[in-house]
Amino acid sequence: MEYALEIRNLSKSYGDFRLKDVSFSLPRGYIMGLIGPNGAGKTTIIKLVLNLIRRDGGEIRALGFDNLADEVEIKSRIGFVHDTPFFYEHLTLANVRKTVAPFYRDWDDALFRRLADEFRLPLGKRFKKLSRGTKMKFALAVALSHKADLLILDEPTSGLDPVFRRELLQKLSAFIQDEGKSVLFSTHITSDLERIADFITFIRGGEIVFSSPRDQILGAWAVVKGGPELLAAEHRALFKGHRQGAYGVQALTAAAGEVHRRFGRDAVVETATLEEIMFYMTKGNGHA
Protein backbone atom coordinates (compact mmCIF):
# COMPACT_ATOMS: atom_id res chain seq x y z
CA MET A 1 0.00 0.00 0.00
CA GLU A 2 1.20 3.50 -0.82
CA TYR A 3 1.21 5.97 2.05
CA ALA A 4 0.76 9.72 2.04
CA LEU A 5 2.30 9.90 5.49
CA GLU A 6 4.28 7.36 7.48
CA ILE A 7 5.46 8.16 10.95
CA ARG A 8 7.66 5.64 12.76
CA ASN A 9 8.79 5.80 16.40
CA LEU A 10 8.70 9.56 16.47
CA SER A 11 9.86 11.15 19.70
CA LYS A 12 10.31 14.69 20.89
CA SER A 13 10.76 16.24 24.33
CA TYR A 14 10.48 19.82 25.39
CA GLY A 15 9.92 21.07 28.89
CA ASP A 16 7.75 18.57 30.66
CA PHE A 17 6.09 17.35 27.45
CA ARG A 18 7.17 14.15 25.70
CA LEU A 19 6.03 12.68 22.42
CA LYS A 20 6.72 8.99 22.92
CA ASP A 21 7.40 6.56 20.12
CA VAL A 22 4.56 7.76 17.92
CA SER A 23 3.82 5.60 14.87
CA PHE A 24 0.95 5.73 12.41
CA SER A 25 0.36 5.70 8.65
CA LEU A 26 -2.09 7.48 6.38
CA PRO A 27 -2.75 5.59 3.12
CA ARG A 28 -2.98 7.68 -0.04
CA GLY A 29 -6.46 8.80 -1.00
CA TYR A 30 -7.88 8.98 2.51
CA ILE A 31 -8.67 11.45 5.26
CA MET A 32 -7.21 10.89 8.69
CA GLY A 33 -8.43 12.69 11.78
CA LEU A 34 -5.86 13.35 14.47
CA ILE A 35 -7.75 13.75 17.71
CA GLY A 36 -6.78 14.30 21.29
CA PRO A 37 -7.23 16.78 24.11
CA ASN A 38 -5.37 20.09 24.19
CA GLY A 39 -1.66 19.53 24.79
CA ALA A 40 -1.80 15.91 23.61
CA GLY A 41 0.85 16.47 20.91
CA LYS A 42 -1.22 16.99 17.73
CA THR A 43 0.39 20.29 16.78
CA THR A 44 3.82 18.93 17.73
CA ILE A 45 3.41 16.08 15.22
CA ILE A 46 2.36 18.51 12.49
CA LYS A 47 5.28 20.84 13.23
CA LEU A 48 7.63 17.85 13.12
CA VAL A 49 6.29 16.86 9.69
CA LEU A 50 6.92 20.41 8.44
CA ASN A 51 10.35 20.42 10.09
CA LEU A 52 9.48 23.49 12.15
CA ILE A 53 10.77 21.73 15.25
CA ARG A 54 13.53 19.14 15.56
CA ARG A 55 12.75 15.55 16.36
CA ASP A 56 14.70 13.61 18.94
CA GLY A 57 14.20 10.30 17.17
CA GLY A 58 12.14 8.38 14.65
CA GLU A 59 11.32 8.77 10.99
CA ILE A 60 8.81 10.75 8.97
CA ARG A 61 8.08 9.99 5.33
CA ALA A 62 5.56 12.02 3.36
CA LEU A 63 4.49 11.02 -0.16
CA GLY A 64 7.39 8.57 -0.19
CA PHE A 65 10.05 11.17 0.71
CA ASP A 66 12.04 11.63 3.88
CA ASN A 67 10.95 14.89 5.51
CA LEU A 68 14.51 16.00 6.29
CA ALA A 69 16.45 14.77 3.26
CA ASP A 70 13.76 15.85 0.78
CA GLU A 71 12.42 18.84 2.68
CA VAL A 72 11.83 21.09 -0.32
CA GLU A 73 10.08 18.41 -2.38
CA ILE A 74 7.81 17.51 0.52
CA LYS A 75 6.94 21.09 1.37
CA SER A 76 6.08 21.86 -2.23
CA ARG A 77 3.63 18.94 -2.28
CA ILE A 78 2.03 19.56 1.10
CA GLY A 79 -0.63 22.17 1.71
CA PHE A 80 -0.90 23.22 5.31
CA VAL A 81 -3.26 25.26 7.40
CA HIS A 82 -1.93 26.15 10.85
CA ASP A 83 -4.21 26.55 13.85
CA THR A 84 -3.30 30.24 13.91
CA PRO A 85 -2.53 31.21 10.31
CA PHE A 86 0.83 33.03 10.41
CA PHE A 87 0.61 35.02 7.22
CA TYR A 88 2.11 38.44 6.94
CA GLU A 89 -0.41 40.40 8.92
CA HIS A 90 0.03 43.84 7.38
CA LEU A 91 -0.12 42.68 3.75
CA THR A 92 -3.29 42.54 1.70
CA LEU A 93 -4.41 39.07 0.65
CA ALA A 94 -3.45 39.90 -2.95
CA ASN A 95 0.08 40.72 -1.80
CA VAL A 96 0.33 37.60 0.34
CA ARG A 97 -0.59 35.61 -2.77
CA LYS A 98 2.10 37.48 -4.68
CA THR A 99 4.75 36.48 -2.11
CA VAL A 100 3.66 32.86 -1.71
CA ALA A 101 2.75 31.77 -5.26
CA PRO A 102 6.28 31.80 -6.76
CA PHE A 103 7.45 29.21 -4.25
CA TYR A 104 5.17 26.53 -5.71
CA ARG A 105 5.88 25.09 -9.15
CA ASP A 106 2.28 23.86 -9.49
CA TRP A 107 0.61 27.05 -8.33
CA ASP A 108 -2.69 27.50 -10.19
CA ASP A 109 -3.67 31.14 -10.19
CA ALA A 110 -7.01 30.51 -11.89
CA LEU A 111 -7.88 28.03 -9.14
CA PHE A 112 -6.84 30.54 -6.49
CA ARG A 113 -9.09 33.22 -8.00
CA ARG A 114 -11.96 30.73 -8.21
CA LEU A 115 -11.52 29.77 -4.56
CA ALA A 116 -11.20 33.43 -3.57
CA ASP A 117 -14.56 34.06 -5.25
CA GLU A 118 -16.13 30.98 -3.74
CA PHE A 119 -14.91 31.86 -0.22
CA ARG A 120 -15.70 35.56 -0.79
CA LEU A 121 -12.16 36.56 0.16
CA PRO A 122 -11.58 40.32 0.19
CA LEU A 123 -8.26 40.30 -1.70
CA GLY A 124 -7.70 44.02 -1.18
CA LYS A 125 -8.03 43.77 2.59
CA ARG A 126 -5.13 43.38 5.00
CA PHE A 127 -4.77 39.96 6.58
CA LYS A 128 -4.90 41.33 10.12
CA LYS A 129 -8.31 42.91 9.49
CA LEU A 130 -9.94 39.56 8.71
CA SER A 131 -12.06 37.43 11.03
CA ARG A 132 -10.61 34.10 12.13
CA GLY A 133 -12.96 32.29 9.78
CA THR A 134 -11.87 34.34 6.77
CA LYS A 135 -8.19 33.86 7.71
CA MET A 136 -8.78 30.12 7.71
CA LYS A 137 -10.56 30.30 4.35
CA PHE A 138 -7.63 32.20 2.89
CA ALA A 139 -5.12 29.70 4.29
CA LEU A 140 -7.19 26.90 2.79
CA ALA A 141 -7.39 28.66 -0.60
CA VAL A 142 -3.57 28.99 -0.61
CA ALA A 143 -3.12 25.35 0.41
CA LEU A 144 -5.46 24.12 -2.33
CA SER A 145 -4.09 26.42 -5.04
CA HIS A 146 -0.71 24.78 -5.32
CA LYS A 147 -2.31 21.41 -5.99
CA ALA A 148 -0.91 19.72 -2.94
CA ASP A 149 -1.03 15.94 -2.74
CA LEU A 150 -1.31 16.00 1.04
CA LEU A 151 -3.25 18.58 3.02
CA ILE A 152 -2.31 19.02 6.66
CA LEU A 153 -4.76 21.02 8.68
CA ASP A 154 -4.19 21.89 12.32
CA GLU A 155 -7.48 22.64 14.07
CA PRO A 156 -8.95 24.25 10.96
CA THR A 157 -12.55 24.27 12.17
CA SER A 158 -12.13 25.75 15.63
CA GLY A 159 -13.69 29.18 15.73
CA LEU A 160 -15.53 28.70 12.47
CA ASP A 161 -19.27 29.02 12.10
CA PRO A 162 -21.18 25.77 11.46
CA VAL A 163 -22.04 26.77 7.89
CA PHE A 164 -18.42 27.20 6.86
CA ARG A 165 -17.38 24.13 8.85
CA ARG A 166 -19.76 22.09 6.76
CA GLU A 167 -18.50 23.73 3.55
CA LEU A 168 -14.92 22.99 4.56
CA LEU A 169 -15.70 19.35 5.21
CA GLN A 170 -17.38 19.10 1.79
CA LYS A 171 -14.31 20.72 0.25
CA LEU A 172 -12.05 18.16 1.89
CA SER A 173 -14.24 15.28 0.75
CA ALA A 174 -14.13 16.66 -2.79
CA PHE A 175 -10.35 17.11 -2.53
CA ILE A 176 -9.71 13.41 -1.97
CA GLN A 177 -11.98 12.41 -4.85
CA ASP A 178 -8.92 13.08 -6.94
CA GLU A 179 -7.17 9.80 -6.24
CA GLY A 180 -3.87 10.04 -4.53
CA LYS A 181 -4.81 13.17 -2.57
CA SER A 182 -4.88 12.78 1.20
CA VAL A 183 -5.73 14.84 4.26
CA LEU A 184 -4.42 14.84 7.82
CA PHE A 185 -6.86 16.80 9.91
CA SER A 186 -6.14 17.61 13.54
CA THR A 187 -9.09 18.67 15.62
CA HIS A 188 -10.85 18.28 18.91
CA ILE A 189 -14.24 18.83 17.29
CA THR A 190 -14.78 15.14 16.76
CA SER A 191 -18.20 15.46 15.15
CA ASP A 192 -16.44 16.87 12.08
CA LEU A 193 -14.41 13.70 11.76
CA GLU A 194 -17.41 11.41 12.11
CA ARG A 195 -18.64 13.00 8.89
CA ILE A 196 -15.56 12.71 6.75
CA ALA A 197 -12.58 10.86 8.25
CA ASP A 198 -11.63 7.41 6.99
CA PHE A 199 -9.04 6.86 9.72
CA ILE A 200 -8.80 8.16 13.26
CA THR A 201 -5.63 8.52 15.24
CA PHE A 202 -6.13 9.30 18.91
CA ILE A 203 -3.22 10.78 20.80
CA ARG A 204 -3.15 11.42 24.54
CA GLY A 205 -0.26 12.68 26.66
CA GLY A 206 2.16 12.31 23.73
CA GLU A 207 1.26 8.65 23.09
CA ILE A 208 -0.88 7.07 20.42
CA VAL A 209 -3.91 5.38 21.98
CA PHE A 210 -5.19 4.00 18.68
CA SER A 211 -4.87 4.59 14.97
CA SER A 212 -7.50 2.65 13.00
CA PRO A 213 -10.24 2.96 10.38
CA ARG A 214 -13.11 5.09 11.71
CA ASP A 215 -15.78 2.44 11.20
CA GLN A 216 -13.70 -0.11 13.07
CA ILE A 217 -13.37 2.30 16.02
CA LEU A 218 -17.01 3.28 16.10
CA GLY A 219 -17.98 -0.40 15.77
CA ALA A 220 -15.72 -1.46 18.60
CA TRP A 221 -16.62 1.03 21.31
CA ALA A 222 -19.93 1.50 23.10
CA VAL A 223 -21.30 3.56 25.97
CA VAL A 224 -23.14 1.59 28.63
CA LYS A 225 -25.75 3.26 30.83
CA GLY A 226 -26.97 1.53 33.96
CA GLY A 227 -27.01 1.44 37.73
CA PRO A 228 -24.14 1.32 40.21
CA GLU A 229 -23.94 -2.46 39.80
CA LEU A 230 -21.95 -1.80 36.60
CA LEU A 231 -19.06 -0.79 38.80
CA ALA A 232 -18.98 -3.93 40.89
CA ALA A 233 -15.44 -5.28 41.18
CA GLU A 234 -16.09 -8.30 38.93
CA HIS A 235 -17.31 -6.07 36.05
CA ARG A 236 -14.80 -3.24 36.22
CA ALA A 237 -12.39 -4.82 33.79
CA LEU A 238 -15.04 -4.41 31.05
CA PHE A 239 -14.83 -0.62 31.17
CA LYS A 240 -12.18 1.83 30.09
CA GLY A 241 -13.62 4.75 31.99
CA HIS A 242 -16.83 5.72 33.67
CA ARG A 243 -18.82 8.62 35.09
CA GLN A 244 -20.96 8.14 38.14
CA GLY A 245 -23.83 10.55 38.77
CA ALA A 246 -26.98 10.85 40.82
CA TYR A 247 -28.98 9.05 38.13
CA GLY A 248 -26.67 6.17 37.42
CA VAL A 249 -23.45 5.18 35.75
CA GLN A 250 -22.17 5.66 32.21
CA ALA A 251 -19.11 3.78 31.07
CA LEU A 252 -17.10 3.16 27.92
CA THR A 253 -16.56 -0.41 26.83
CA ALA A 254 -14.99 -2.31 24.00
CA ALA A 255 -16.89 -5.44 25.01
CA ALA A 256 -20.49 -4.50 24.24
CA GLY A 257 -21.49 -8.14 23.69
CA GLU A 258 -20.20 -9.24 27.06
CA VAL A 259 -21.87 -6.28 28.80
CA HIS A 260 -25.15 -7.21 27.15
CA ARG A 261 -24.73 -10.85 28.23
CA ARG A 262 -24.01 -9.92 31.85
CA PHE A 263 -26.55 -7.14 32.38
CA GLY A 264 -29.26 -7.86 29.82
CA ARG A 265 -32.02 -5.27 30.05
CA ASP A 266 -30.49 -3.67 33.16
CA ALA A 267 -28.03 -1.76 31.01
CA VAL A 268 -28.46 0.25 27.84
CA VAL A 269 -25.67 -0.15 25.29
CA GLU A 270 -25.25 2.59 22.68
CA THR A 271 -22.68 3.13 19.97
CA ALA A 272 -20.04 5.53 21.30
CA THR A 273 -19.26 8.75 19.51
CA LEU A 274 -15.65 9.80 18.99
CA GLU A 275 -16.19 12.52 21.55
CA GLU A 276 -17.32 9.98 24.14
CA ILE A 277 -14.37 7.72 23.37
CA MET A 278 -11.99 10.66 23.71
CA PHE A 279 -13.70 11.86 26.88
CA TYR A 280 -13.69 8.56 28.76
CA MET A 281 -10.20 7.65 27.66
CA THR A 282 -8.85 11.02 28.65
CA LYS A 283 -10.73 11.59 31.88
CA GLY A 284 -10.81 7.98 33.10
CA ASN A 285 -13.11 7.52 36.07
CA GLY A 286 -14.94 10.19 38.00
CA HIS A 287 -18.18 11.75 39.04
CA ALA A 288 -20.49 13.40 36.55
Binding site: K75, S76, Y88, L91, V100
Partner: protein, 223 residues
Protein backbone atom coordinates in the same frame (compact mmCIF):
# COMPACT_ATOMS: atom_id res chain seq x y z
CA UNK B 1 16.89 32.54 -3.47
CA UNK B 2 15.42 35.31 -5.65
CA UNK B 3 11.93 34.26 -4.53
CA UNK B 4 12.94 34.66 -0.90
CA UNK B 5 14.50 38.07 -1.48
CA UNK B 6 11.46 39.14 -3.48
CA UNK B 7 9.22 37.95 -0.65
CA UNK B 8 11.17 39.98 1.90
CA UNK B 9 11.13 43.05 -0.32
CA UNK B 10 7.35 42.85 -0.80
CA UNK B 11 6.90 42.13 2.87
CA UNK B 12 9.05 45.04 4.01
CA UNK B 13 8.53 47.39 1.07
CA UNK B 14 7.51 50.39 3.15
CA UNK B 15 10.28 49.81 5.66
CA UNK B 16 12.93 49.49 2.96
CA UNK B 17 11.69 52.61 1.20
CA UNK B 18 11.29 54.51 4.45
CA UNK B 19 14.23 53.58 6.63
CA UNK B 20 16.47 52.46 3.76
CA UNK B 21 16.27 55.93 2.19
CA UNK B 22 15.77 58.22 5.17
CA UNK B 23 18.57 56.62 7.13
CA UNK B 24 21.36 57.27 4.56
CA UNK B 25 19.84 60.71 3.93
CA UNK B 26 20.19 61.50 7.60
CA UNK B 27 23.65 59.96 7.91
CA UNK B 28 24.82 61.59 4.67
CA UNK B 29 23.69 65.00 5.82
CA UNK B 30 25.21 64.56 9.28
CA UNK B 31 28.43 63.27 7.70
CA UNK B 32 28.63 66.36 5.49
CA UNK B 33 28.70 68.57 8.60
CA UNK B 34 31.68 66.91 10.27
CA UNK B 35 35.29 66.62 9.25
CA UNK B 36 36.08 63.54 11.33
CA UNK B 37 36.81 60.83 8.79
CA UNK B 38 36.57 58.05 11.39
CA UNK B 39 32.81 58.59 11.61
CA UNK B 40 32.21 57.08 8.18
CA UNK B 41 33.51 53.54 8.76
CA UNK B 42 33.14 53.22 12.53
CA UNK B 43 29.75 54.75 13.19
CA UNK B 44 28.28 54.52 9.69
CA UNK B 45 29.23 50.85 9.43
CA UNK B 46 27.41 50.06 12.63
CA UNK B 47 24.30 52.03 11.77
CA UNK B 48 24.05 50.44 8.31
CA UNK B 49 24.62 46.95 9.75
CA UNK B 50 21.67 47.12 12.11
CA UNK B 51 19.11 48.17 9.46
CA UNK B 52 18.68 44.67 7.91
CA UNK B 53 18.33 43.21 11.36
CA UNK B 54 15.61 45.67 12.30
CA UNK B 55 13.92 44.60 9.07
CA UNK B 56 14.12 40.88 9.94
CA UNK B 57 13.12 41.66 13.52
CA UNK B 58 9.74 42.71 12.19
CA UNK B 59 9.06 39.02 11.49
CA UNK B 60 9.32 38.41 15.25
CA UNK B 61 6.59 40.98 15.61
CA UNK B 62 4.35 39.41 12.96
CA UNK B 63 5.21 35.86 14.12
CA UNK B 64 5.48 34.99 10.43
CA UNK B 65 8.87 33.27 10.41
CA UNK B 66 7.19 29.89 10.98
CA UNK B 67 5.18 30.48 7.86
CA UNK B 68 8.26 31.47 5.87
CA UNK B 69 9.96 28.26 6.88
CA UNK B 70 6.89 26.19 6.00
CA UNK B 71 7.40 27.24 2.37
CA UNK B 72 9.37 24.87 0.13
CA UNK B 73 12.83 26.13 1.06
CA UNK B 74 15.58 24.82 3.31
CA UNK B 75 16.66 26.83 6.30
CA UNK B 76 20.05 27.30 4.71
CA UNK B 77 18.50 28.84 1.57
CA UNK B 78 16.36 31.02 3.78
CA UNK B 79 19.44 32.31 5.59
CA UNK B 80 21.50 32.70 2.40
CA UNK B 81 18.78 34.97 1.01
CA UNK B 82 18.86 37.01 4.19
CA UNK B 83 22.62 37.48 4.03
CA UNK B 84 22.43 38.50 0.40
CA UNK B 85 19.59 40.94 0.99
CA UNK B 86 21.38 42.39 4.02
CA UNK B 87 24.59 42.99 2.12
CA UNK B 88 22.65 44.47 -0.79
CA UNK B 89 20.89 46.89 1.55
CA UNK B 90 24.06 47.79 3.40
CA UNK B 91 25.91 48.50 0.14
CA UNK B 92 23.09 50.65 -1.18
CA UNK B 93 22.74 52.62 2.02
CA UNK B 94 26.50 53.06 2.30
CA UNK B 95 26.74 54.25 -1.30
CA UNK B 96 23.83 56.67 -0.87
CA UNK B 97 25.08 57.98 2.47
CA UNK B 98 28.63 58.46 1.18
CA UNK B 99 27.45 60.23 -1.97
CA UNK B 100 25.36 62.62 0.06
CA UNK B 101 28.22 63.17 2.46
CA UNK B 102 30.21 64.79 -0.30
CA UNK B 103 27.39 66.13 -2.48
CA UNK B 104 25.51 68.20 0.11
CA UNK B 105 26.45 71.89 -0.21
CA UNK B 106 28.98 72.81 2.41
CA UNK B 107 30.32 69.25 2.72
CA UNK B 108 33.60 69.18 4.59
CA UNK B 109 34.97 65.89 3.31
CA UNK B 110 36.37 65.58 -0.20
CA UNK B 111 35.01 62.94 -2.57
CA UNK B 112 38.54 61.65 -3.15
CA UNK B 113 38.85 60.91 0.57
CA UNK B 114 35.42 59.35 1.10
CA UNK B 115 35.71 57.19 -2.01
CA UNK B 116 39.34 56.25 -1.64
CA UNK B 117 39.92 52.47 -1.79
CA UNK B 118 41.26 52.58 1.77
CA UNK B 119 38.11 54.27 3.11
CA UNK B 120 35.79 51.95 1.17
CA UNK B 121 37.66 48.91 2.43
CA UNK B 122 37.66 50.20 5.98
CA UNK B 123 33.91 50.87 5.83
CA UNK B 124 33.33 47.39 4.41
CA UNK B 125 35.48 45.93 7.16
CA UNK B 126 33.50 47.60 9.91
CA UNK B 127 30.18 46.61 8.31
CA UNK B 128 31.38 43.01 7.95
CA UNK B 129 32.54 42.88 11.57
CA UNK B 130 29.37 44.43 12.99
CA UNK B 131 27.04 42.40 10.80
CA UNK B 132 29.13 39.26 11.25
CA UNK B 133 28.68 39.42 15.00
CA UNK B 134 25.13 40.73 15.00
CA UNK B 135 23.53 38.18 12.66
CA UNK B 136 24.28 35.00 14.64
CA UNK B 137 23.23 36.75 17.86
CA UNK B 138 20.05 37.87 16.17
CA UNK B 139 19.26 34.38 14.86
CA UNK B 140 19.92 32.85 18.26
CA UNK B 141 18.28 35.43 20.53
CA UNK B 142 16.09 37.53 18.22
CA UNK B 143 16.04 41.26 18.81
CA UNK B 144 17.41 40.67 22.30
CA UNK B 145 20.59 39.48 20.55
CA UNK B 146 21.03 42.94 19.05
CA UNK B 147 20.65 44.53 22.46
CA UNK B 148 23.21 42.06 23.85
CA UNK B 149 25.66 43.19 21.17
CA UNK B 150 25.07 46.88 21.82
CA UNK B 151 25.40 46.41 25.59
CA UNK B 152 28.56 44.35 25.02
CA UNK B 153 30.04 47.20 22.91
CA UNK B 154 29.25 49.66 25.68
CA UNK B 155 30.83 47.39 28.27
CA UNK B 156 33.95 47.16 26.14
CA UNK B 157 33.94 50.96 25.97
CA UNK B 158 33.67 51.20 29.76
CA UNK B 159 36.43 48.62 30.21
CA UNK B 160 38.66 50.58 27.82
CA UNK B 161 38.09 53.76 29.80
CA UNK B 162 38.95 51.97 33.03
CA UNK B 163 41.99 50.44 31.35
CA UNK B 164 43.05 53.85 30.04
CA UNK B 165 42.88 55.44 33.48
CA UNK B 166 44.86 52.51 34.90
CA UNK B 167 47.66 52.31 32.32
CA UNK B 168 47.65 55.86 30.99
CA UNK B 169 46.50 57.40 27.73
CA UNK B 170 49.78 56.84 25.91
CA UNK B 171 49.73 53.07 26.42
CA UNK B 172 46.15 52.83 25.11
CA UNK B 173 47.04 55.00 22.11
CA UNK B 174 50.00 52.74 21.43
CA UNK B 175 47.72 49.70 21.60
CA UNK B 176 45.26 51.26 19.17
CA UNK B 177 48.12 52.23 16.87
CA UNK B 178 48.89 48.52 16.55
CA UNK B 179 45.97 48.07 14.13
CA UNK B 180 46.91 50.72 11.50
CA UNK B 181 50.59 49.93 12.03
CA UNK B 182 49.86 46.24 11.44
CA UNK B 183 47.88 47.06 8.28
CA UNK B 184 50.71 49.33 7.10
CA UNK B 185 53.26 46.57 7.80
CA UNK B 186 51.20 44.08 5.80
CA UNK B 187 50.88 46.60 2.96
CA UNK B 188 54.60 47.28 2.85
CA UNK B 189 55.52 43.61 2.90
CA UNK B 190 52.84 42.43 0.43
CA UNK B 191 52.33 45.56 -1.61
CA UNK B 192 49.13 47.64 -1.65
CA UNK B 193 47.03 45.47 -3.97
CA UNK B 194 47.77 42.07 -2.37
CA UNK B 195 47.21 43.58 1.09
CA UNK B 196 43.89 44.95 -0.12
CA UNK B 197 42.96 41.52 -1.47
CA UNK B 198 44.12 39.81 1.73
CA UNK B 199 41.88 42.04 3.81
CA UNK B 200 38.97 41.37 1.43
CA UNK B 201 39.60 37.64 1.81
CA UNK B 202 39.64 38.03 5.59
CA UNK B 203 36.30 39.84 5.47
CA UNK B 204 34.86 37.13 3.22
CA UNK B 205 36.08 34.53 5.68
CA UNK B 206 34.50 36.40 8.58
CA UNK B 207 31.21 36.65 6.69
CA UNK B 208 31.37 32.95 5.85
CA UNK B 209 32.02 32.05 9.51
CA UNK B 210 29.13 34.29 10.55
CA UNK B 211 26.88 32.56 7.99
CA UNK B 212 27.87 29.08 9.18
CA UNK B 213 27.31 30.01 12.83
CA UNK B 214 23.94 31.59 11.98
CA UNK B 215 23.01 28.48 9.97
CA UNK B 216 23.87 26.26 12.95
CA UNK B 217 21.68 28.41 15.21
CA UNK B 218 18.81 28.49 12.70
CA UNK B 219 18.99 24.70 12.24
CA UNK B 220 18.38 24.27 15.96
CA UNK B 221 15.68 26.92 16.18
CA UNK B 222 12.13 25.71 16.79
CA UNK B 223 8.96 27.47 15.73
Amino acid sequence: MIKLIRKDLILHKKFVLGVGILYPLYLGFMGSRVDNLAMLPVLGGFLYAIVPLILFGREDKFKSEAFGLSLPVTRREYLRARFLLSWGLMFLMYAMGSLLMVAVPGARLAAATVFSPKMILLSLAFMAVYFGFLMPLFIRFGQVGMLVFIVALQLIGVLLMVFRSAVGVTTVKKLFRLIPDGVAAVQSSLGAVPAFLALLALLALLTYASFELSAAFLRRKEF
